[in-house]
């Protein structure tokens, strides 16, 4: 059992490695996540995000390297570590045979919490998840958003120090998503460390203190989202839809364009001002275009490419 400055870093990995059928999924990952951080992991499907999370909770044997969570080494201390972790999985695994309250109760019992402690805790958590009125409902009667909130509440039953969320808002409507975001911010304020994977750049941009972009098991970038946008990409993007080659040729004469990409019938021009190109468009007849500041999605695409991952 190795104890490494657990106070500063809640998660530490050294050359962490995992391969399936000889293909590395997590490739020599070196990562430190400081306590109190809201950490986001981005990456296309198959980038190694979920595998990384699963290793953190001991659901995935480590092929090589070291992993320390809460100052305890994995996998020897898996049970001990899980006592202080909350997990919101990608796929809801609430027990449909139980009511909302019973789901929380049973889950709490797995942590060895006593009935009296749980009674109190369940009241608090139902309030936190805004599910007070649904305490005695069966899971099937809940909407997708309610289920996610319940899963989140369930993950908090043991008062974890670290909360791990695997795509917590996938498939939710905007209202439900914002509700989850609000809860997560509340938790962050309470000093909890959160690790989240997501496919929604906006989500990572709004919530996370620090974002890591992963692809093929490697870290492509790791910085606060604002810094990523500042450092990794040009300031502005001009998207022109259905432009013909003549127009593209004209636009590309703008000296401030640093990068040009074409995907399907959309042309992307990256640069800082793009004034000349914008003038051409304003004077011309082609009005199907969008000029906007670069965002995290642009960074993501730049780092991981435009190819579809299946």
């Amino acid at each position: 059992m190795t104890v490494v400055n657990s106070e500063e870093c809640i998660v530490q990995t050294k050359q962490l490695y995992k391969a399936y059928n000889g293909l590395p999924v997590v490739n020599k990952l070196n990562l430190n996540i400081e306590t109190g951080c809201f950490f986001g992991i981005l990456g296309p499907n198959g980038a190694g995000k979920t595998t990384t999370l699963r290793m953190l909770i001991g659901h995935c044997p480590i092929d090589a390297g070291e992993l320390t969570v809460l100052g305890l080494s994995m996998p020897e201390n898996a049970s001990l570590i899980r006592e202080n972790i909350g997990v919101v999985p990608q796929m809801d695994n609430l027990d449909p045979d139980f009511t909302v309250q019973e789901n929380l109760y049973v889950y709490g019992r797995f942590f060895g919490l006593s009935k009296t402690v749980l009674k109190q805790r369940i009241v608090e958590l139902l309030e936190f998840a805004s599910l007070q009125d649904k305490a005695d409902c069966k899971i099937a009667e809940l909407s997708g958003g309610m289920r996610r909130r319940l899963t989140l509440a369930r993950a908090l039953i043991n008062k974890p120090k670290l909360l791990i969320l695997d795509e917590p808002t996938t498939g939710l409507d905007p209202q439900a998503r914002q509700a989850i975001w609000q809860k997560l911010r509340e938790l962050k304020k309470q000093g909890l460390t959160l690790i989240l994977t997501t496919h929604y750049m906006e989500e990572a941009e709004r919530l996370c203190d620090r974002v890591m972009v992963m692809d093929h098991g490697l870290i492509m970038a790791d910085a606060p989202p604002k810094q990523l946008i500042r450092d990794e990409i040009e300031t502005h993007v001009l998207e022109v839809h259905a432009a013909d080659d003549v127009l593209i040729g004209q636009l590309n004469k703008d000296g401030s364009i640093k990068r040009f990409e074409k995907s399907g019938d959309i042309s992307f021009f990256y640069g800082d001002k793009l004034k000349h190109a914008l003038d051409i468009l304003e004077q011309g007849t082609h009005d199907d275009y969008l000029y906007r500041p670069a965002n995290l999605e642009d960074v993501f695409i730049k780092l991981t490419g435009r190819d579809l991952r299946e």
């Binding site: 995935c60 044997p61 006592e83 999985p89 695994n93 049973v106």
Partner: protein, 239 residues
């Protein structure tokens, strides 16, 4: 640690209804032709077999279909494994719960059997622990099958190729002395025969022989299957 047992009970009618029908229909129908078997009424003979079969079926069903649902479809086990609970604890809990179902369905049949006057004396109460042990054994075997299952269809192999032939050959419906000796050896190497050997005398007031042998067959089958199942499920979930 195990609380869901309290709440997931309504499937019992199925567990209890079928053996009860077998007992009534075959007992009355066949009983008239058969008369006495091994010095007891055919109904009494059949009842002890049906009790054991019911223990086998309850535990097997729970260990296959219900457990598979929790493992694969609902991902309940992975949820539990996000707590300090370990795979072997999950498996052990499933085995206990499945055996509890055996115990419940056997208790229900025993009550009916008593009402029908098929129970000789209070020794029959010892059938309950035997039913539980039989449940443990077959639940472990079922979970071993489940650990390999890719879909529900897979369970048909086990029920058709193992459970059903075993029930037919282990002395549920007729004494196995009438079978060719090769088949007898096969039947005696399977756990159901040993469960019946314990239950039948307990129910009809006969003398129970070879207790340790019969018990240890059930326990050894259960232990080995349980350990293997736990190992396989660990490999399947933690990958």
């Amino acid at each position: 640690m195990r609380v869901w047992g309290k709440l997931a009970g309504p499937s019992l009618i199925g567990n209890f209804g079928e053996p009860f029908l077998y007992l009534l229909v075959l007992g009355y129908g066949l009983g008239q032709f058969v008369g006495e078997v091994q010095g007891m009424s055919y109904m009494a003979f059949l009842a002890s077999g049906v009790i054991c079969t019911s223990a086998v079926n309850s535990a097997s069903f729970e260990g296959m279909y219900s457990a598979y649902t929790r493992m694969d479809v609902q991902q309940t086990w992975l949820g539990m494994l996000s707590t300090p609970v370990s795979v072997s604890e999950v498996v052990f809990g499933e085995v206990l719960w499945a055996a509890t179902k055996s115990l419940i369905s056997v208790s229900a049949i025993l009550v009916v059997a008593t009402a029908l006057g098929l129970i000789a004396d209070a020794w029959a109460l010892f059938i309950l622990p035997i039913a539980f042990i039989t449940g443990l054994c077959f639940a472990s075997l079922a979970l071993l099958v489940t650990s390999r299952a890719k879909s529900y269809d897979f369970f048909l192999y086990y029920t058709t190729l193992v459970i059903t032939p075993m029930v037919l050959l282990s002395g549920v419906f007729f004494p196995i002395d009438s079978l060719p000796s090769m088949v007898q050896v096969l039947a005696k190497s399977l756990p159901l025969y040993h469960a019946i050997s314990l239950v039948r005398p307990l129910m009809t007031g006969g003398e129970v022989t070879h207790i340790m042998l019969h018990l240890s067959v059930l326990v050894v089958f259960g232990l080995i299957a349980g350990l293997l199942a736990s190992q396989r499920i660990q490999k399947r979930l933690i990958k």
